[in-house]
Symmetry: C2
Subunit: 243 residues, 2 copies
């Protein structure tokens, strides 16, 4: 009953970060465009700022991809606990591996986002939902693990008359691998947004900034991103390597 | 890894219809109250009217159950196709088994609602989510089938550090069975709301009204509901039995 992958008829969950934008480029490439193009879906669930989604909108527009934005703030407000949504909680600084980063976890976020993406796919007659879970996510986000994707795939197959294919091609890749793929496809990294802070440029101090800088470093790809305090990140990465 | 059922620490999805209110009474009974009580959760996803949720609110208040309402209208608006949400589409009249009733299906609704309920359960430290899928739902709603519940259970187990137990005790029962259980527990059926129309009293002509009337009839339980046109329903039920 599992549906086959159909990139030309897919919905791609895009946050606006480099992982999901690389995935969008990848799906667009697989679709060969002439056969159709993915639809990009961003879900606003009450993130601290709109920068990521604005980045996704800009990139989608520039490559002619339809970009759907769902406002799910009402849904998430009632159980927000993470610093991503509560402006009174300061954004934790430091390496992602630190305990402090668990503050940024929204309960059951991925199942909620994927269930909406599946809903959109069904309503638009599309049989594939792609999302950019990757191996680096697993330690802190339980719902990024391959086992979770498999289980949700099974549910997605049964959730509608025709099943929906859940596709997470980066699930066993590191963020550095994704940077490598993206560089090969000409992803405009400078237009993607990772930082938890919604300032003019990336802060260089929060977990996602550090992770981003580290990924470019490992991949050996030049990082076109402007950071407020890249030295902080580099120092944190060095110290974490020493442990 | 599957969590054990804990009714005193559960979230019960309540629409305000008789199935979910009966489930709420059932979970409350299992919880023995002194050990704690379920939280009721209603999700407004853009139903044609607010009557059902208002019914849930009234009943929860009267029995001292906390009632959380999530506004998910923004999420559902973008793929609404069903007559439940689009006021320009007339509510289909007739028996649920009719093709016309597929108009009332919201794509992937149950996965979306359950994923939010799981999110609330996690954020409130509750390990059980109960919902009132029943055997009569299956023919038209694919995501009410036991296989779907099992698959989503597996995903729920993996979606968080501790798994969440998905509990659908009525999944193999008919609506008539539920009426029987409810009658035994003193469920105030007159305060529950099933009708797709949001008028003062139940219309008696839409699929849910007909199904409701039929369930009381089969259960042999007196139906305290006031209907605008019960004769239409009884006639439809008779004709459907003749086929």
């Amino acid at each position: 009953m599992e549906k086959k992958l159909d990139p030309a008829k897919s919905v791609v969950l895009v946050s606006g970060g480099l992982d999901s934008i690389t995935l969008l480029y990848y799906m667009r490439k697989l679709a060969f465009i002439k056969d159709g193009a993915p639809i990009a879906l961003s879900i606003h669930y009450g993130q601290r700022h709109f920068r990521e989604i604005a980045s996704a909108a800009k990139i989608c527009h520039s490559i002619g991809i339809e970009h759907v934005v769902i406002d799910a703030t009402g849904a998430m407000e009632c159980f927000m606990g993470g610093s991503q949504m509560d402006l009174s909680v300061p954004v934790p600084e430091g390496h992602y591996a630190d305990d402090s980063m668990s503050l940024t976890v929204v309960p059951n976020r991925n199942m909620i986002l994927l269930s909406m993406a599946i809903g959109l796919a069904i309503s638009r007659g599309r049989g594939t939902v792609a999302y950019a879970a990757h191996a680096g996510d697993h330690p802190i986000y339980p719902d990024c693990r391959p086992e979770f994707v498999n289980a949700l795939q099974e549910a997605a197959n049964l959730a509608w008359y025709d099943g929906v294919h859940l596709y997470a091609p980066f699930i066993r890749d590191s963020k550095a691998d994704i940077v490598t793929y993206g560089a090969g496809m000409g992803v405009p990294f400078q237009d993607t947004w990772s930082c938890y802070q919604g300032k003019d440029i990336h802060c260089g101090r929060c977990g996602t900034c550090i992770e981003r800088i580290e990924a470019f470093q490992i991949a050996g790809v030049e990082d076109p991103t402007q950071y407020q305090d890249k030295e902080f990140a580099l120092d944190t990465i060095r110290r974490s390597a020493d442990v």
